[in-house]
Amino acid sequence: MAKEYLGNLELMVLLSLIRVGDNAYGVPISHEIEQRTGRDVALGSVYAALDRLERKGYVTSNLGDPTPERGGRAKRYFQISAKGVKEVRDAQRMLTNMWRNLSVLQGEIA
């Protein structure tokens, strides 16, 4: 089967998931993306990305208990899997290699 690479949003979601740690669900994940990147990503898009990541085996999820402040709806907690951590490392290595020795970008920084 062909290897499925991470999309931009998927990578951001995985990194946010690692940063939030335990008890990560949609709201803190989208807050983390907003704070770190300045992008206001719709929760529906975050969930669509999380579903894709779960299908690829990079995250797992389970439902918590329903709470009154959420209109009786349960939270869906997400955890990154070992396969997900490996994929993030691979993406970091790949992007770092792509960035290395780019004179145009170095000129901009200077």
Binding site: Y25, G26, G44, A48, D51, S61, L63, P66, G71, A74
Partner: protein
């Protein structure tokens, strides 16, 4: 003063057309803490537009199966039984015959949407939507033919209005059938939750 409850219509759309467990609760939580009704509406519209399409793309073969299933049901019920057996039997002479024929026809479309949703859980909404999209594409040639005929005068304008209305009602019946099926599943899930059944990943439940 802003209501503590999010907009009802947006919530209804979200519950019926976006089957992402956890998302509705997250939006309510955010809305109650720091967001406006306009934000809630925007999020609901994005979720309803993005999530089912994302599921269709993610599960292409399931979408193909949903379209094939819908086509087989249409062929057996509508094309063979309704047009081949019931229509000649009814005769279509009186208004009652015609009303009965269309009522039965639209009920069969409702059944079609219901069966597609039932056979494609937990992606029911997305798979019914896949069939609806296919039905829209399949409707283009006949509607175009009637439109051309209406323009060159060989058919009356009312024929075009009838063709378009009939197809729109067909699509609405398909969607309604799918919604009825998913609503029934949601009620069942709520009852199971109330009984304290273990709540695992929706993907694990689907498997």
């Amino acid at each position: 003063m802003r209501s503590e409850h999010p907009p009802v219509v947006a919530s209804w759309l979200l519950e019926r057309f976006c089957a992402a467990p956890g998302l509705a609760g997250d939006l309510i939580e955010e809305y109650r803490v720091r967001r406006s009704p306009a934000w809630y509406w925007k999020q609901a519209v994005i979720a309803v537009s993005v999530y089912p399409f994302s599921q269709i793309i993610e599960h292409k073969w399931l979408a193909v199966r949903a379209i094939a299933t819908g086509y087989v049901i249409w062929y057996v019920l509508n094309a063979t039984l309704l047009r081949g057996v019931l229509r000649p039997w009814l005769g279509m002479d009186t208004t009652f015959d015609r009303v009965a024929y269309f009522l039965i026809g639209y009920t069969l479309w409702l059944v079609n949407g219901w069966v597609i949703a039932k056979l494609h859980r937990p992606y029911s909404t997305a798979m019914v939507l896949a069939y609806v999209l296919w039905a829209i594409v399949a409707s283009v040639p006949p509607v175009y033919a009637v439109a051309v005929a209406a323009l060159d005068g060989s058919k009356e304008g009312s024929a075009l209005a009838f063709e378009v209305t009939a197809r729109v009602v067909t699509l609405l019946m398909l969607i309604s059938g799918g919604l009825l099926s998913t609503y029934r599943d949601q009620l069942k899930q709520t009852r199971l939750n109330a009984q304290g059944w273990p709540r695992e990943s929706p993907r694990a439940l689907a498997g």
